[in-house]
Every structure is written in structure tokens, then in C-alpha cells.
Symmetry: D2
Subunit: 490 residues, 4 copies
């Protein structure tokens, strides 16, 4: 059954892979980047009611308006409110809406029985409802115990999607929900759409026979991809899996384009700093570093770059940034931003030499880049100024402003535009389509991109027959070589 | 004999290759891009004397100051003048000078007998003298009958390099020089450094036995690489060949960084146009298009982009350009710039609709992008305003300003900074080194990049042992996956 | 008594003045821009306790730690908390701290008895304490009934400044506080530092004899300056008055530099919109428009400009923006931003034609620029999505996102960096100094600027005697002609 | 006779004036900036024939096709060639063409008898022919002995304008031509259009009675304005004079917009330097400095600024440039650019410390900024590399590249776009119109700006009656206060 592409990034370039987890880890906006499903999750804006209903959803019996009860959410009555939020999200996710329109009449996902485990938000609701519109049957659960928008879960349940999720699950609830999602009498899932790998893991462990019947796994997170790879390396991944995380389009938006905006947003919301005239050092000149430096330069900051890689260094030079070692500028800079994917890029020794009032934050990878642990010593005082902002105070009164305790600034103190989420969601949907089998991945990504052009009223030029022949290309693409499917490490 | 890398780009990705000539052709600054060695060649600044000595160098007997006569140049007495130009060029090619210093004492190229065929300029002289400094014996000839700087040829001959080249060779001279270069009693070349493939072709055809003794071919031009590939496809390339043209570093400089500057330079030198407020359409948003649009936007032009590729289109949107079809803006733009690698991107029909006084030029590929032939009709008057600038005049008096007759603006009306040539020359030298055998190409390119960092006083950060282990990288690189060696098609 | 400069902007250029209120009104960040002291005031971050103490401060008897009770604040016990906030503010207001140091030993304001009426925040506390450090006696009250930071008022009262202000005053409280400030047995104020003109008005009306003893009025707001001018025109302003609002330094920061950042901040906090690829029209290309367009262009938006003035239009062209009439682009833009100082720049008719999901907001003047009143009709539904964000919904379902109900986005939905407030506060302090009498205003502004350079580690070059003579300048400035004191209308 | 505005800049702000010559001198693109009419003049592109006709035009008798001989040019037969150049220039000077159209039927300059003394180029021909079209009688001569385009002089003579000028006049020829221009039987000039003041001086000295009959002098150069001011100060300027040099529109284009482009052009044409990654220090952050820094930053250079003025320094900080003293960076920079209007900004001591291969050039004022004289000492060797480029070589071999011998780079090594010349020429024409009498100068400049908007297809918004009333403005402007007529010193 060659129905789906088989983890192609990994198989075709295996010698690359030993480096992959860290390189991939250079940064991801995937909300599932948190190592664990029980990590705290700061939802920027939640309309979730704060009613004092303390009853566990597991103990309630609820019916939707059609009289069915195959779901478990906080409060089915919030469905109408959730519906409105979904409608608003649809406006920024027109690529998915247009996918529904193109399929009209036909049901390319007829026969697909999809279990999903993602954050349950208005945006993922648009994704799920697109799958349904294309003919799939869906059962869904949450990949994080805090991130569910209850009203959205209700709205999905109301239209018949079997959702098992609420905000504030216990860990026991979490696995109970996953299990309810899979284990339904007379219903055998044949596809997994996962974010973090917990669902996949559960099916693999608890339903080994069922696992073999899965025809495809679509995984979007760094962590989940890594877990799949471990399985594959161990020879136990008998199921085709699609790596949505590393597509060039997703990565460009998650890194370059999104960070160009979120670095400003994250710094402003937390510190109200004025960018003009500030001296800033950005550690790392990959896509994230390129986005951060471009934005700050444009706002009138004076920006320095540190790099380990000569090619990226040369690019930084050409883009007008001095390439320095951190120690050369540590005493003069107002802001340090890490974007390396590395660990201990800013050490205690360096923090000791920072200026009074300077800011340090991380846009790179997890929470490893700044050696925050080294700041938890008795002679330093921590003062929580507001959410996500700590003043670390030295004995001489010097204050260094640490944001998000060294975790990712853009996830903690900024928001991800719906448009960016749409790129990922659209890729996920398309990866489930049987029609993409045997297609080069670059063709998939080009198709995803083309679905997002109408948002910008952008008009593609078409090749004439003569031109296509001259270029040796098919008129409908792909227009790039297949190795371009990788995220670009430049 | 695994002495050299074997055309790896082609072998590992064969299915890509059918598209290669055109993709490669998206643009190259290689001066050998002209299809033929007898194409006219506009050297921006030539200090060559205009003495009226009409005697063919072939008919002269000249001795250098050491009393040898194994060379054939215009006038050996110009050597001192040429030496001064070489010294000036050395200042911008410090990477090669530093290579010489690193090798001091040792002669890594001892035993190498190199025949070369390139433009003979002050910059290539620095390349050749570096090969000599590293222990190689060199014999050299010109790849274009017009491009030789006579005084540089003299300076090389003076120090004992056997040069056979002068400005204004006949085609017969051209092949005579090539042959003199190869065919020397008791001297069997074992390496070829070629630009365009003429030398390689000659050895292959005329000295089939000698060809088999070649241990490596270093080729820098699109055309030459294409000819090698044809040979390889036919199973006749028994010699390892290194493709210098497609390295990511060379391409970034030839395309993005160089065009960002040369589009302004080329337009200004030819037309004195003011950029501020001008409406410009750039056809194609590859690296060249990205460079052109960035520069013009920064100068206050209003820039539109046309594209066939959805991924590049989305990038153009994110960078702030409206993506249109050419016909949407053809009547309003002041300047059209083609950078597609395609043919007939601007047609007669579109030229007919351009504004009076508007400018059309090509930064892309060869001379195919603008349908210049369609303008050579009786009802249109051509007026040569100055070198490289034609006014094409419509019956109603409308003038369209055509630059370089549709050939590459940056080669015809601008100059290539020595620093850019240094990137290529350094790559060529390093490819000749036996020590690079079995190294991943990305490592070569990172090394070339690192040699150019001192020019910018850029300071690389070194990984600690702990960090290298965390990242799964060697402390000395390579830092990127090997597929990054390809020029980036983004 | 020529102690102070006399409203010089107005007197020297009287014919200009009839236009002044509106031109001045092109925009001001002064928080007192709201017409009335009882306007709502959204303090971005208030640390004020939300204790349920409902007792009016007027009904309490409180003593500070020195045992005095000449103040009226919410809760004197919050003083320590307020002190910490003042200390943090001091870090970004080093110009004032350096002023204190320069005066050390001397008391240039000895004898000055200043009554002040401003927002009472950590930043104004730094201003007030600088006046005290320079020798002045101060009594202070709030210029807005909502804007007082109670803990800061407490901290000031604790060190002996007579503060009469709390958050949530009634209008009666407001005037009671002002009166307490002025009317103290045996204490005759001789200087007024006002923001909005209410204090000045009260002294003028209620204490006509006291008014004549005032030696100077320092006014920072558009409204207050306008009221002073009306008084002056009527021949009733017998007191020298300093217009702090219109200094070139304040205006550059309030408008160009601050708006360049706050437009991004305000849009992001309210809508999470992605800027890349968005089509935006900015109405008005004065300093505010220049700041907004520069920021959005840098973030990858496609920006159009509307203007009434040909000189500003030409500047917009040169800066790379298409100058259009609003109607030309109304159907295609994603965001409309008004910065004109004019009224009804966006009409109902135009709002009717905007795209679904588009955003409209005002960075210009007061709340006049968007015809918000025209949207309050029965066929349109307003939906408050969150604070400062309304969806206005047309009968066909189209939504237009209106920010801050058409009031100033940057005041309502963003914050003003302390550094910007420092420019104004420093100007206010310096205007109170007797030593500035008879100095050209441009000298004052240059001095204010020079006090802020150390923040950026900027090093001024000094003229040699020979150079100063050549230029006909004094080595210590002023370096610019005095007409440059005006805010630049370019 | 209040026919014309009277040197208003000077009269209304007299106390400013002692600084004026230098401030004005901060920079001007006026080609007459050279102190003397016999300075060498590098015309970037001259189509003038190089025929070997050595006969002085004064010794020839020539007739135009109408049979008149009231002119003296090199060769009347070149008229047709000159006509074509004028037609090409007209395309970029559509503001003047549109002025002609608006006047059609009427002759607002009927009765005006204008003597002019300017560079005689295709662009000034468009100016002169506009005056003629509006009804004036014109006699013309050249303000520089080298700058005349002979074929243009011929074309003007052919249509009946009395031109006395040719390329390569002797000084005696120069004054002879001026005299021929004025001294015509039965023709008394009543207006002077001058560039440099030589014509005005001659009339004043030689024809004192005729001088009194002049109703207006239009002067465009710094030098000429300065000479007029000296006359005025001495009480001897009995004639109204218009200062075209200092208008805000001319200055913005001559300085900010033009230098933004010409700094790149001038450096590229002379040195082929690559801008990316270069470290550059720009001395002076007035309009010229702002243009140069913006361009180089955009091209990827790392730019430092030196300044004497705190307000400009703060602007440089906000725009993202480190403000340093020259000595702080002298050893590391690759390029020094002076734009101060000052003298000896770069001293020998500093030149001694520059890097090998670094470039020094002047965009500011005359040739005073770099102490070039200090380099003419025996231990330094000068090597002329090509026109306008000298290598100055220190005893240790260090080379510093000096451009244009310290004269203005943009005049010597770049060209002035016709559009920029159009702004000046249009202002000159409008200043001659009687209808501008009693108009505020700002109104004139706004009108000039509005005439240039169609070039950019820019569409002005018109105020409604209600809006005009609200703003206190006339619907047709002026929109700015009159003090804005000054060039902006920011």
C-alpha cells in the first residue's frame, strides 16, 4: 500500500539525521514544542468562561442538540459562542475554506477515519471541519491539558465531531480522553493526525493490531517527529508518516516571517522598551536571527550578530551587521536575544557583565539558550515585575530584565498570527489526501503556498507551453527541485 | 584514484538534471556566460595600451628578464604596469593571500601541472600566482579573445608563468594559444582549470591519451558545466570534475549580494534615472530578483513582482511587494527588469504598451528574456544614444529605452566587485587541493567563507565541547547539512 | 521682570497662529490631549491596588512617617511600593538625574514655589523630585481623574511633596484638589507647571491677584497652549508662558520616533494581525504618517498614502509610496490608518466599501478623523471583541474592525516609552530655570537633546576654534537657526 | 514697485544671516557651486562634437535658418542634433511643459526682457524655451567656460534666442559674451536670471543706470545669493531679488533625495567598491548625511556618524547609527564620507591612521572638508589611477583612495538627474512671474511641487469646505506655515 509518502526526509538523507533533532530544534513555533503535554500553556486570549462549575466533565451527561452524546467537553451549551469564534478564525484561514470549495461534490477523504490530538482552538476547529467537509470521520482530543478552548470543543461536539477535551484536565483525564478517542465500538481509525506524538504512542502501545491498520500518520511537532524517527530507527515504524514540521513553507513562516514581527511584539508587551538607538546583540543568524535582526534594524536599533557558522556570518556581514563574539559587546548592549538552538549561549559570567537595565530573552530553542539556572543563587534577588518579566538584581543594585524565564519569548509573550497557523493546518489536511501519494513533497508545499496567495490578492503568472518546454518544467509545477522541500538552513 | 570529488551535484541527484541547464542558467556572473569565446566582451576599465603595434604576438620574439621565452603576449615590457595592477587586486583578494601564508613552507600542490583557460585579468593573476605559490606548475591561456589585459599577461610571463594570450586574438589565434598551452615537450598536464569548456574540449579531442592522465577538472561556468555533464551522460567523462559554479557561496554573491548593487549601478551608468518614486516591475523573484527588488525599494522605488512559482510569490508578498501579472502594470511602470532565466518574458505586445520614456533591461539569463528580435521591424526606429543604450522609437514618437540590447545589464553596464571574484577564485584554488578529496562539498564552501571573514573584521564564535556535543556537530564544522552545498533556489 | 521667555512661538509669528491649534493638533502624545480632565484614561499598566477601601481620601486623616499631613492621597502606606516604581523610572530618565548632579551644591530653583497639575505617574514623580532637588517647593495635583498612580502619589507625599490626587476622583474632588494645591496659608505660588490648563484657569479665575504674582507658566499640552493663546489674544495673559508642546525635540519623539513603534504595537496588541503582505493606506504624511509608513513598510506591508499637501506628497513619492485618493484603494486595503489632524477623513460611505475583516484606526488627532458617529445606525451591529476592539457588522455579514472607537490608537492601545516622556519632562524642568531667560529656545532644545545622548553612548564632536570661526558659530551652540525651534511641519 | 518678492529669507530673519553663507553652503548641487566661472567642469556626458574646428566663434559669421545672426555659438549647424537632446530633456521636465500648457493663449511674461547666465545644457534650454513660450524675450550666456553644450546653444540660436556661449571660452570670451548679452541697441533688460552672480555683477558695475531698471533678479546659486546679500548689507541692492537656492523643495531634492542615490553612484563609478559589509563613517548628519547613511545602510554597509549638534545626533541614534568621534573609528573604517559644510573635518593626522585600501571622499561643501593640502608632502606618493581617483601612498605602502581630490563627489563623479534640475528650473520660471508677487514663498514652493506630482502619477486629496474650515486653511493652500519655506536644517 503505497498510499502515503514514507518519512522521506529521513530516509533519503539518513546520514544527515544524527544532527536532525537539534537542527530541527533551531526553532519551531509549533505550540507543542513544550516537551510534555502537561506543560503550562499561556493562551494569549481565551474567551473561556470562568464559571465555577467544578464538576468534572467525565461525571456529566450532556447531549448535543441532535441528541447524541459521543463527546466529552466542559459545557455543550457554549457551542454557539464557540461557533462564532470558529467563524472569525475562518476569515484568516481562507486556504482551508477554498479547499472545501474545490472538493465540492466529491469526498476525497471518504473512508478516512481520523483520530486527532492537537491543541483545540478555533483554528484547529477550522482544520477539523475541513477534514469532515472532505468526507472524513473524525474523533479528536487535546495534546495539552491547559490549551483547550472549551467553547470551541463544544461547538465541534455540537456538529457531531467526537471531541474529548477540556481546559484543565488532570493527567489521568488526558489519557482517558485519548483512549476514548480511539476505542470506539465498531470504529477502526485508519489515520492519525498528531501533535507531539502522545496519541501515536498510545495507539502503538495499547492497540498494536490497530496500529498496523493505520495508513498514515501526520505529525507536526519537533518532538513528535523525533519520536517517530526513534521508532523508525528501531525498525518498528511500520506505518507511513508525514513530517509536516520541516516543510520549507511552514519553516519560513514559523521562523523568518513570524519572528520578524513577534520579536518586536514580545519585547514591547513585556517591557515597553523603545527600540530606536538601542544596542542589541542577536546570537545566531539562522532564519530566526535573520527575522529578528531585520525587524530591529528597521526600528532603528544598532544590531550585532554572533555566529559559529562562516556562511551565515558572511551573510550577516552582507546584510550590514557586525559579527562579533558575545564578550566583545556584552558590556555595552541593551538587549540580548538568543536564536541559536544551542545551550548556554549566555552564561552567568556574561550575565554578570551586562549593563544595569539591560534585557535578555530567548527566541531560539526550548529554554536552554540562556543559563537561567545559574541565576538562581542566593546573592541575586529575583523580582517578578509582571507576568513573564523578572528583574534579577545583583548585590550592587544592577538589574537585568529576564523575559519568560528564558523560555521562548514568541510563544510566551506574543501570539502566533492565524495566517501562520493556516499554513500548517493546510499542509496537514493536504497530507491526509490520498491524491498526494507519490507526489514529490515540494509539489505539496507549492500547492499549499498557492492556496494562500488569494489572501494577498497575488496573481501568479502562468508559463506558456513554449516557456515550459524551454525550462524543462511542467506548466503546473513543481517549479523547484525536490531537495528544496527541506527547510532551508540558510 | 579517488583524488578528487566526482561531479557530485550531478551524480547524487540525477533526476534533477534535466532541468539543470536552465535552472543553473537562472543567472551567473561568470564572465564566460557568453556562449562563445569570440563574443564581444566589454571590459569596464582597461588600462591596456592603445599603441599602434599591429604586429601579431605570434610573429614576435620576446624574452622576459630571466631570458626565457616560453610565453606569447602582446608586449612583455608592460610587465611592470601589470604587476602594479595585480598588487592592487591582491588587496581585495586577501583570502588567496592568506591561503598562501597558511601553506608556507609546504607545497600542497607540488607535482600539480595545471593548464588553465580563463579571462586573464589582474584578479585571475592573483589566482594563478596562488597556485604557483602552493607548488603548482601552470600554463595559461585566455577563454575569450577580447578579455585579456595585456599588461597582466606580461606580468605573469615575466615571473615565469607560460601565458599565451592577448587582447584581440583571431579565432585561429585562440586555438593556437590553447594548443601551445597543452602541447609542451616533456610536460604532461594533470589538471585542468577551465572557464567555458574550450580547453577541456581541446584536450579531450586532440589528446585523448593525455586526457586520461588528467586527475581533475575544475570548471566554473554554466556552459562548461553543461558540456561536462553532456560528456558524463554519454559515459565519456573518465576524469573527476569539480563544479565550482553552483556552490552556495558563489551563487549568493553572484546573485543576491552582487545584483543588489549592480542593478543600481547598471541603471545609473546608462540612464542617470532617479530611482525615487519610480514604478518598477521585476520579473522573477529568485535570488537575483530578491536583490534587485530590495535595492530599488530601499531607494524609494515602488516595486511590483511577477512570478510563476507560488512559494517565491508568497515570499514576495511577505517582503512587501505586490505580485501581479505583467499585463496588469505594463502601462504604468517606468522600468521593467527581467530576472527569470526564462525566454520571451517581455513580448513585443507588451513593449507596445509601455509608457513613453520607460526603460527595459535584463538581469536574468543570457539575452532571451526580452524579445528583442521582435523590435527589429521596419516601423520602429532604433537610436543608439550611447554605448549600451538604445532608444526604440514607435511611429507615434514613443520611446522605450532598451539597455544592452537585452543582454545582461550587470555584465554589460556594471562591474563585478573584486571581492565577488575572490569567492570564486578561492573556491577554484581549494578545489585543486588533494586535501579536499573525500570532504563534503559543504565543508569546502564553509572554508571558503571563513577565509573571507577577516575582510569584514568578523569574529566567529567557537563551540565549546559541551555545545558541540549537544548539537551533534564537530567543532570545526561542517555546520550545515551537505544538501546545502547546492545553490539555494529560494 | 524678564525672568522668563514669553510665549515666543506665538508672538514672533502671529500671522501663523490662526492655523496653530489644528496644526499643532496634528498630533500629540501628551496624555492630556483628551479635551477634558474627566475623559477616561487607559493606563496600560497600573500597579495600583484594587483594595476595596471605598472611603474617600478627603474623609481620611493620614500622616506620613515624618508626621505631616499636608497631602491627600489614597493610602500613604503604599509609599514604599511607589518608591520602587519611581526608582525604576529613574533608570530611563537619566537626563533628569544628570541635571540634579550638575546642580549639586547649588539650588538654581531656590525661591521657586511651583504648583503643578499633571498626570501623577512614576515618570512625573521623577520630574517633581528633580524640581525639589534643584531647590523648588512643590504642591501637586492631578490633571485627570483616572490617571493617578496612587502608590506614586503616596511616595511623593511621604517625602514631603504636597500631593492632592487619587485614582477615581469625582469632578468635585478634582477641583477641590486643585484648590488645596494653591490655597495654602502663607504660601504664594510663583510658578505654574500645567498640563491642560485647568490649574492655570483656576488660578486666573479664583485668585486674580495671585495670578499676577506668577512669574512663569510652563504648559505642555495642545489644549493648554491653545487656552493660553486665547487668553493672550484677549490681552489678559499678563504672565510669561512657556510652550513646551511645540519644541522640535518633543515633537520628533512624540510623532515620528514614537509612532514608528507604537503603530506596530497598537495593532498587534489589539488584533494580532500579521503585517507581512498586508495592504495599508495611511492618510496624512506628516511626522506621524512618516513614522507609521516607515514601520509598516519595514515589516513587509504594501503601503499607500493620501495627502492634501503637494510637498508632503512629493516626499511620499520619493520615499516609495504611491500617493492615492482614499477611494482608489478603499476596496482593496486591509488596514486604514488616519494621521491627518483633520476631521471625517474616513466617511461612512467609505467604511461601507471596506473589505470584510479590514481594520480601521486613528493615530492622528483626537477622535475626529474617522466618522465613527456615522456607524452608530440601526442596521449595523457592534460587537465588542475585547477591550478597545469592536467588530462593526454590516447586514451582509461584513465585519470592519474598529480600534479604540476611533480615538488615538497609540494612547489607547499602546504605551509611551519612558524615554519619550523624559524628553518632555526635561524640557519642562529646564523651562523653569531662571538661567534660560533670554536664551534662544533652540538653545534650550539642544541642551535637552544633549542631556539624552549618554543614554545611547553617543559622543558629540566638538568644533575647534578655527572651525567655529569658519562656520560663524559659537562652539557650544546653538548650532541651528532659531526658527528650527518650531516643530518641523515636514 | 512691489512687483517681486524682496530677498525675503534675509530680511525677515536678519539675525540669522551671519551664519548663512556656511549653513547655506552645507551643500548645493547647483553646478555653479564652483567658486569661479573658470573652474573645470566635468560634464558627465557630452555629445559635443570633437571636430577640429579651431576658429573662435567670435571670428565666425553664422546665420540661422531664418537669416538672423544675433548670437554667437560654436556651430549653428549642430542645431538639429541639439533639438533632439532638448526634446529628450523635455520628457523629464514635464512640469515646465505643463506650465506652458496652462498659460496657453495668455502671455504672462509679455514685456519681460530677460538676460540669463547659466550653464547651457538641454535642461536649461527647456527652461529658456518655457520663458519664451510665456511671452518673454531672452538673451543668454554661459556661467562657466567649459559647461556649454554647443549643439544646444545652436538649437536655441536657431529658434531665435540670442545665445552667446561655447564650450572652451577664454576668460576674455566669457565677459565678452556677457556683455553682448546685455548690450543690445534698443533693448533694455528688465530681469536677470543668474547662476553665480557674474551677470548681475557686470550689470551692476558696467550699467549702473540699467541696473536700476531691473525689476527682479532670480539667483539660484549659493555663491550668487551670498554676493547679493553682501550688496544688500552694503545698502546697494536696490533691486528685488529672489533666492531660488534655499527653497525647501530644491534643498530636499538637491540634498536628501539626490545624495541618497549619488553617493552610491559616485563611489561605484570611481572604485567599483562592494558596499555590503563595508564599515563607513559619515561626518555630518544634515540632509546630505541623512541621504548618504540611509543609502549605505540599505546596501548592507555598517555606518557610523559624527556630529557636532545634539539634535542631529539624537536623530542619528533614533535612525540606528552609532554616533562617534572620528578618532574612535578611524582605524577600522573602509570609507569616510564628509557632509558637514565645515573645514578640515578629516585631518592629515587622521588620514595617517586610515587603513590600507580605505576610501575618503567629500559630499559636503566645496573642497574644504578633507585637508587635501596636507597630503601634498614629499613622503607621500600620489598615483592617478583614473579620472577623479588618486591613490595616495604612504612610505610603508599603505594606500588611501582619494576621490575627486576632495571636491564634491556627486558633482565630479556622478550626475544630477534631470528631475532634480526640473525642480529648480520650474522654481526659477515661476519666480519670474508677476503673479507670484505678494504671495508667500511657501505657496510658490507648493505650486512647484504640485507641478511635479503627475510624473509619479500621484493624486492629491482635496479638502472639503468643511475640512478646510476645520483646519483654518484655504482649500488651495498654502498648507504649511511660511517659515517652512526655508530649507529644513534638520
Amino acid at each position: 500500500d503505497a498510499y502515503f509518502l514514507f518519512l522521506e526526509n529521513y530516509k533519503t538523507d539518513k546520514q544527515e539525521f544524527s544532527r536532525f533533532p537539534t537542527k530541527a530544534g533551531r526553532r519551531s513555533l509549533s505550540r507543542s514544542i513544550s516537551q510534555s503535554s502537561t506543560d503550562s500553556y499561556s493562551s494569549a486570549a481565551s474567551y473561556t468562561d470562568s464559571s465555577d462549575d467544578e464538576t468534572s466533565p467525565r461525571d456529566k451527561t450532556q447531549l448535543n442538540s441532535k441528541g447524541t452524546n459521543d463527546f466529552c467537553v466542559k459545557n455543550i451549551k457554549q457551542a454557539e459562542f464557540g461557533r462564532r469564534e470558529i467563524e472569525i478564525a475562518e476569515q484568516d484561514m481562507s486556504a482551508l475554506i477554498s479547499l472545501r470549495k474545490r472538493a465540492q461534490g466529491e469526498k476525497p477523504l471518504a473512508g478516512a477515519k481520523i483520530v486527532g490530538c492537537t491543541h483545540i482552538t478555533a483554528q484547529t476547529a477550522v482544520l477539523i471541519e475541513t477534514l469532515v467537509a472532505l468526507g472524513a470521520q473524525c474523533r479528536w482530543t487535546a495534546c495539552n491539558i491547559y490549551s483547550t478552548q472549551n467553547e470551541v470543543a463544544a461547538a465541534l461536539s455540537e456538529i457531531g465531531v467526537a471531541v474529548f477535551a477540556w481546559k484543565g484536565e488532570s493527567e489521568d483525564d488526558f489519557w482517558w480522553c485519548i483512549n476514548k478517542c480511539i476505542n470506539m465500538e465498531g470504529w477502526q481509525p485508519n489515520m492519525i493526525l498528531d501533535d507531539g506524538g502522545d496519541l501515536t504512542h498510545w495507539v502503538y502501545k495499547k492497540y498494536p493490531n490497530g496500529f498496523k491498520k493505520i495508513r498514515g500518520i501526520v505529525e507536526e511537532s519537533v518532538t513528535g517527529v523525533h519520536r517517530l524517527y526513534q521508532l523508525s530507527k528501531a525498525g518498528k515504524l511500520c506505518v507511513p508518516a508525514m513530517n509536516v514540521n520541516d516543510s520549507v513553507t511552514k519553516q519560513k513562516f514559523d521562523n523568518l516571517y513570524c519572528c520578524r514581527e513577534s520579536i518586536l511584539d514580545g519585547l514591547k508587551r513585556t517591557t515597553d522598551v523603545m527600540f530606536g538607538g538601542k544596542q542589541v546583540v542577536v546570537c545566531g543568524y539562522g532564519e530566526v536571527g535573520k527575522g529578528c535582526t531585520a525587524a530591529l534594524k528597521a526600528m532603528g536599533s544598532i544590531v550585532y550578530v554572533t555566529e559559529i557558522d562562516p556562511i551565515c556570518s558572511l551573510q550577516a556581514c552582507m546584510d550590514g551587521f557586525r559579527v562579533v563574539k558575545l564578550n566583545e559587546v556584552i558590556r555595552q548592549v541593551d538587549i540580548i536575544i538568543t536564536c541559536t538552538g544551542n545551550k548556554n549561549v549566555v552564561t552567568r559570567d556574561q550575565l554578570d557583565r551586562m549593563k544595569n537595565g539591560s534585557i535578555v530573552c530567548n527566541m531560539g530553542h526550548s529554554n536552554t539558550e540562556i543559563d537561567v539556572a545559574s541565576l538562581r543563587t542566593p546573592e541575586l534577588t529575583w523580582e517578578r515585575v509582571c507576568s513573564q518579566v523578572d528583574h534579577v538584581i545583583w548585590p550592587d543594585g544592577k538589574r537585568v530584565i529576564l523575559l519568560a524565564e528564558g523560555r521562548l519569548l514568541n510563544l510566551s509573550c506574543s501570539t502566533v498570527p492565524t495566517f501562520v497557523l493556516s499554513i500548517t493546518a493546510t499542509t496537514q489536511v493536504i497530507q491526509t489526501l490520498p491524491t498526494v501519494a507519490n507526489k514529490q513533497q515540494i509539489a505539496v508545499y507549492e500547492y499549499v503556498a498557492s492556496l494562500h496567495l488569494p489572501t494577498f490578492d497575488a496573481h501568479l503568472t502562468e508559463l506558456s507551453d513554449e516557456q515550459a518546454k524551454y525550462l524543462g518544467l511542467n506548466k503546473n509545477g513543481p517549479f523547484k527541485p525536490n531537495y528544496y522541500r527541506y527547510k532551508c538552513p540558510c
